[in-house]
């Protein structure tokens, strides 16, 4: 079992707004290219007992804000375990509005606020209007950075308290448009506003995550340094975004 990278996909049917399934396909594909064995399990409301510590990678896709209260209620009993998971440097990726779950406060536009899982130190405020756009960001890793390009359908503003951002916004809205921060990071838990199949369009991000897991687990893997098609796509989109009309300062 220990030579397998075990992924658990949380609430796949509830948190499934923007083709999040693509990230699972990407993990399988990248792992396959790296000659790594990978399994995908699902976790849902039906799972009352579950050991997240058996897993190497937790994934949560973007979901509707309205569903987060129920999800939080179900995950409540798992808070100590999820906290231990993050403190043990295990990998977690959450995208889109779902990242609000991990903070301490979720303020709805209709004044109906509720607390989050309180696993990280930030709060979220639902926006009055949706902001949809491209985003270019630089994600920080301990000894390197990677370039990310994708889409953002922003329904919340995120305000970091005593927590690091995942990276800096090069173009786009990011956490709140104002402070140029993008996402939240605590150890190897990565929360990003870049939603949809972010690992498909940025396979170097997926590779980085899997590489880290493989090294921690001392698994042999084949290094990959070429993603030709995705690189071409990145360059085209980067040029388009650089030139396009936008109210956001570039």
């Amino acid at each position: 079992m220990n030579d397998i990278i075990r992924v658990v996909w949380l609430f796949p049917d509830t948190l499934s707004l923007h083709g999040e399934r693509g990230n699972i396909l990407a993990l399988k594909r990248i792992a396959n290219k790296m000659n790594l064995n990978i399994t995908i399990d699902k976790f849902d409301f039906e799972n009352k007992n579950f050991n997240f510590m058996d897993y190497d990678f937790i994934f949560l896709g973007a979901g509707e804000l309205v569903s987060l209260k129920r999800i939080k209620a179900h995950l409540f009993r798992f808070i100590p375990m999820l906290n231990e998971y993050i403190l043990n440097n295990k990998t977690l990726l959450a995208t889109g509005t779902t990242i609000a779950l991990f903070g301490n406060e979720i303020n709805r536009a209709n004044q109906n606020s509720f607390t989050g899982l309180n696993l990280m130190s930030f709060s979220t405020q639902e926006k009055e209007t949706v902001y949809g756009d491209d985003i270019i960001a630089k994600f920080n890793f301990p000894n390197s950075t990677i370039d990310i390009i994708g889409n953002q359908i922003q329904m919340i503003d995120i305000f970091l308290q005593n927590e690091d951002s995942l990276g800096e916004v090069i173009y786009g809205y990011g956490n709140n448009q104002r402070d140029k921060t993008e996402g939240v990071r605590k150890n190897n838990a990565y929360l990003t506003n870049v939603l949809g199949p972010v690992l498909v369009t940025n396979p170097w991000f997926g590779y980085k995550l899997l590489e880290n897991i493989a090294e921690v687990k001392q698994l042999e893997y084949k290094p990959i340094n070429e993603f030709e098609l995705e690189t071409k796509s990145y360059q085209l989109k980067y040029e388009f975004i650089r030139e396009k009309e936008s109210k956001i300062r570039k």
């Binding site: 399934r21 309205v66 388009f240 109210k247």
Partner: protein
């Protein structure tokens, strides 16, 4: 028939509104007869924000058709059935589904003194702007086609639209609900007067493997389980946790569907299928439910199906150098229409070329590069349907489109990629393949460009 009359002090105001509106209609018609479905109404509303209210319309005769997909087709079909049965109808058939479009329909149909000689008002209404429309014209009858993922750049998520609809639903309304679409079905508690319409499992119903998410229950957010999909995310379902489910016995259930014979039945009445695509069945079912409710017999309704011609730009065929280009429209950011288009192409097992244009989103500034909805769609049936060549075109996002195919294990040699929306480049790729059958899946603008090019070049 009802004749609308105007009361009291509103007569003069309405007279001037209509004079103004009809003048704009006339001016626009002189410039371009195809324009002017929205502008005259918009201008009049700027001049008088209560313009629509002044007509004092009997709202029991008003039907709103709203939802994510199928609004225009359903509206056009209802209008066709009613007018074919000598009913007088005011409608916004050209898809001008905001307040301005409805106001324009009234301007065009009214006499200068505000008289409307009409039996029914059948209005397609934009789901996002429904509260503004409803405030002016509180229709007593609402058809919900479906509430699905769509236009995320402006709507964010389906719950945004769902909450808008919930806020205007009330017990005074008769609701026509899609029995097999969970969000639509879940609106059932708002009124005692609910009419369900639906479609029986049929030969084109499909399932998806477990890697595809289903949907969250609108009541409890647990997983919705579908027995099958009749069209993407619409089919007989039940929630894995609470009691929400599609009904098994509903008054308007299309059954005995025969796509080859292009026919179906509803309550033992046979209907012909003017367009034999699964996603049209829910439009047929809703239209039958509404028209039957409005007093037509199933026989009278059925008699009108043969000669129904839908508004253009949904599915069209172009000829190019002896090859047939079959266009199927998709709405961007909308996985349901893409899945339906893919399934339609996959039904054809002959050798073919698939041209896929998931283009830049250009609804409003900022334009952006969203193709992520394609990962909600199952490409397997089309991959297995004898495609000779794939062409992924469109400026900027062509590689992302191609990548979606690579994720389905399509060999890279079978995929051409063009970083352009240029029609001549697209057509030159068609020249290079042997198949005579071409399928084009993209948004309407690109199709119109190709159609215009072929006409102008005389190809």
């Amino acid at each position: 028939m009802i004749t609308i009359s105007i009361t009291g002090g509103t007569i003069m105001r309405l007279f001037f509104d209509l004079l103004f509106g009809k003048t704009i209609v006339r001016i626009i018609n002189m410039i371009n007869k195809n324009r002017g479905t929205n502008l005259p109404g918009e201008y009049v509303i700027k001049f008088d924000k209560n313009f629509i209210k002044r007509f004092n319309i009997d709202t029991t005769k008003v039907i709103f058709i709203t939802g994510t997909n199928g609004k225009s087709t359903t509206t056009n079909l209802i209008n066709h059935i009613l007018t074919s049965n000598n009913k007088k109808v005011i409608s916004n058939l050209e898809g001008a589904n905001l307040l301005g479009g409805i106001a324009t329909s009234l301007i065009k149909s009214s006499s200068l003194d505000g008289k409307l000689d009409v039996d029914f008002f059948i209005f397609e209404t934009d789901e996002r702007f429904l509260p503004y429309i409803y405030q002016q014209l509180p229709a007593k009858n609402i058809v919900i086609t479906n509430i699905q993922k769509d236009q995320v750049q402006r709507n964010g998520d389906p719950d945004y639209i769902y909450q808008i609809l919930c806020n205007i639903m009330n017990p005074e309304m008769t609701l026509f609900l899609n029995n097999e679409e969970p969000r639509s079905k879940s609106l059932q508690n708002f009124s005692d007067s609910v009419i369900y319409y639906g479609v029986e499992k049929n030969s084109r119903s499909f399932t998806k493997d477990e890697s595809f998410p289903t949907a969250p229950c609108p009541y409890c957010y647990h997983k919705i389980l579908y027995s099958e999909y009749n069209t993407d995310m619409v089919g007989h379902f039940h929630c894995s946790h609470c009691g929400l489910k599609s009904e098994t016995d509903i008054p308007y259930l299309i059954n005995n569907i025969n796509f080859e014979a292009t026919s179906f039945y509803l309550n033992e009445q046979q209907f012909s299928m003017p367009y034999s695509h699964p996603f049209m069945l829910y439009n047929y079912s809703a239209a039958i439910a509404v028209c039957n409710y409005l007093g037509l017999s199933l026989q009278e309704i059925s008699d009108c199906f043969d000669d129904f011609v839908n508004i253009g730009g949904r599915m069209e065929v172009l000829n190019y150098k002896g090859k047939e280009i079959n266009y199927i429209r998709i709405k961007q950011e909308n996985p349901e229409t893409l899945q339906s288009a893919l399934n339609s192409v996959a039904e054809d097992k002959s050798s073919k070329m698939l041209i896929l244009g998931l283009c830049l989103l250009k609804d409003f500034v900022p334009y952006y590069t969203n193709t992520f909805y394609s990962y909600d769609c199952d490409f397997k049936p089309i991959i297995e349907s004898n495609v000779e060549k794939y062409l992924c075109f469109s400026k900027v996002v062509c590689y992302d489109t191609a990548n979606r195919l690579l994720y389905e294990n399509v060999p890279s040699d079978d995929i051409s990629i063009i970083n352009s929306d240029d029609v001549s480049q697209i057509l030159s790729e068609i020249d290079n393949i042997s198949s005579n059958k071409i399928y084009l899946i993209t948004w309407l603008k690109t199709f119109n460009d190709i159609k215009k090019y072929l006409t102008e070049e005389g190809v």
